[in-house]
């Protein structure tokens, strides 16, 4: 377990570094740069470039930035004039806050709904939940965010609630589908038949015996979903008027602010890696049968051997 964690952590750091360097180079190589948004002359533009440090070649700037990375000095944003680390950290915290709340809401809605959809004795409940899920999954996220905005515009709901709901509903639907499918997958397990034969009530069979067996299957993709929720979505941020990572990255790229864009990409990579690492670690902790060598075998509802 420890070796697994260490390996994945090392990979996560490598991923963050690759994301940083990659976006740094891409933004720097794109046409246009951070200076020059005004009706000034060439001479003024040259002075501005010198002040922002844009007159040095891109690779040299990258090299000196990488040299300063261990001290967590990510430079100053050319677009916002503030230190990059503070800016990204604040926006990331805001995004993770909304994403975590959305994840909790999605789990609270999706998992019980999935169990009900698989095991409820009433076919109305089963079909109803399945239909609702499919409908929610069919709406483009942008449209749903807009609908929510219009529906809640009369009430005084804060933008955070709107964002959380807009993020949580499709994720809840996906989790519900995953959970239902996973529960179906473990139905024929002999230990369940044995429990039923012993006279354990059906509800207890479902929740105490069957559900824990299905969790590893859900966890596999849940990690990916959680990662997407926590790393911000530009469109939803625009609709819900919340300054998060998505909007910051977009602004940074529009303004060709190389340092800021690279830091944002690194932040997103970090969040996604940490989340998927946590999901896989959680899976290992819950189910000791999953061998460390087959760390990804439990994804998509196929129990490991």
């Amino acid at each position: 377990m420890r070796r697994f964690l260490a390996g994945r952590l090392a990979f996560a750091l490598a991923l963050v570094l690759v994301a940083y360097v990659g976006v740094y180079l891409l933004t720097g190589l794109a046409p246009g740069d951070a200076a020059g948004d005004h009706m000034g002359s060439e001479a003024t533009l040259a002075l501005q470039r010198a002040r922002l440090g844009l007159d040095r070649p891109l690779l040299e700037r990258l090299a000196s930035r990488l040299w300063q990375l261990p001290t967590l000095d990510l430079g100053t944003s050319a677009r916002f004039g503030q230190p990059v680390l503070a800016l990204v950290a604040q926006r990331a915290a805001s995004t993770v806050q909304a994403g975590a709340a959305a994840l909790l809401l999605a789990l609270a809605l999706g998992i019980p709904a999935g169990v009900l959809a698989a095991r409820s004795s009433s076919s109305v409940v089963r079909h109803g939940i399945a239909t609702l899920s499919v409908l929610l999954l069919s709406l483009p996220a942008l449209v749903m965010a807009l609908l929510l905005l219009v529906l809640t515009s009369g009430t005084g709901l804060p933008s955070l609630v709107l964002m959380v709901i807009a993020l949580a509903l499709p994720a809840a639907a996906l989790l519900e589908r995953l959970q239902a499918r996973a529960l179906h997958g473990v139905l024929r397990d002999p230990c369940l038949t044995a429990a039923r034969a012993r006279g354990v009530p059906a509800a207890q069979v479902t929740w105490h015996h069957a559900w824990p067996l299905s969790v590893p299957a859900v966890l596999g993709l849940a990690g990916v979903i959680a990662g997407q929720l926590l790393s911000g979505a530009l469109a939803i941020e625009l609709v819900a008027v919340r300054s998060g990572l998505g909007l910051l990255t977009f602004d940074a790229l529009q303004a060709r602010d190389v340092e800021l864009a690279a830091a944002c990409a690194a932040a997103v990579a970090l969040i996604v890696s940490v989340v998927s690492l946590s999901a896989d670690a959680l899976q290992l902790w819950l189910d000791p049968r999953v061998s460390i060598a087959n760390d990804d075998a439990a994804a998509d509802g196929y129990p490991a051997r």
Partner: protein, 305 residues
């Protein structure tokens, strides 16, 4: 086949047929602008513009003269006042025709992207899962990288470097490439998971003991076991590719006017003004929802009902 799968298949075939028959089913052409019929609601009556802001029309007592089966299924005999089954957009273009022609583009692109993502994802997933080696972790880590990468922003920066006017074929190929690169990691992860668990099966071990080559194992044991997963992934990717086309158009990598695509039509229509004054402009969202719904129904093979 389960009833839901059947319904889903019928719906999808109907949609594809409608898209294929677009020139015949359309009521007008995609490009003609009529400023005096801007934002007109669907109607079978003749009408006259009363006010431009907000666009209001007074219906006259005369119905539109319709002519059937002459070049198109149905169209208006009067060239100056076309039949608008789904109303008109802000430039007075026929929304129904544009949604139909957009269907060909959106569905075609989604299918092309699907072909690419499936083939690359399957090959890499098979290779990764068939043998636990450096190839396995290498491919999986590469997939993680692609998932965590801010693809959208890369496209935005890329667009600025490309030549301004790309031919239709080049643009189609480029968008297919982007979709393929975005889609293959999910397919590869799923395929690898099932192949990794399959190769521990007794039947495969027995075949190996009997002296089967790797190619034989791949072809006879592992690939057939992977088909259901590949099919599921395919069905899940189609709607996300259609929505991805919309997002790509938002960042500038889209088909040029007047070629309609659901993506460009949606991005113009997504604002509270449209929802209140001209809800028929959200028809592409309904179309995307229908496609997604049918695909999700088809993917839902485990419903107990």
């Amino acid at each position: 086949m389960r009833p839901t799968v059947r319904v889903g298949a019928w719906l999808l075939s109907l949609l594809c047929l409608t898209a294929a028959a677009a020139p015949w089913l359309a009521t007008s052409d995609v490009a003609t602008q009529r400023p005096d019929l801007a934002l007109a609601p669907p109607s079978l009556q003749r009408r006259v513009l009363v006010n431009r802001l907000p666009p209001t029309y007074r219906p006259l007592d005369a119905p539109l003269p319709l002519v059937w089966f002459s070049g198109r299924l149905v169209r208006s005999a009067d060239a100056a006042e076309p039949l608008l089954p789904l109303g008109s957009d802000s430039l007075g273009r026929d929304q129904w025709t544009r949604v139909l022609h957009g269907a060909r583009l959106s569905l075609g692109l989604a299918l092309a992207g699907l072909a690419g993502a499936l083939s690359i994802g399957t090959v890499l997933g098979l290779l990764a899962g068939a043998r636990h080696s450096w190839l396995d972790s290498g491919v999986m880590r590469l997939a993680d990288l692609f998932i965590a990468w801010p693809a959208l922003y890369v496209v935005l920066v890329l667009r600025a470097t490309l030549p301004l006017s790309l031919s239709f074929e080049a643009l189609f190929a480029l968008m297919t490439l982007v979709l393929t690169l975005a889609g293959w990691p999910l397919v590869a992860r799923a395929v690898r998971a099932v192949v990794a668990s399959e190769r521990a099966r007794e039947s495969v071990l027995a075949a190996q003991a009997a002296g089967a080559t790797h190619l034989w194992l791949l072809r006879r044991h592992l690939l057939p076991a992977a088909w259901p997963v590949i099919a599921t992934q395919a069905l899940l990717l189609v709607p996300s590719f259609i929505l991805a086309e919309a997002t790509l158009s938002f960042v500038g990598l889209g088909f040029s006017e007047p070629t309609p695509s659901w993506g460009t039509m949606l991005t113009e229509a997504i604002n509270p003004f449209t929802l209140r004054q001209a809800p028929w402009l959200l028809a592409p969202a309904a179309a995307i929802a229908l496609v997604t719904l049918s695909v999700n129904l088809m993917a839902d093979r485990h419903d107990r009902g």
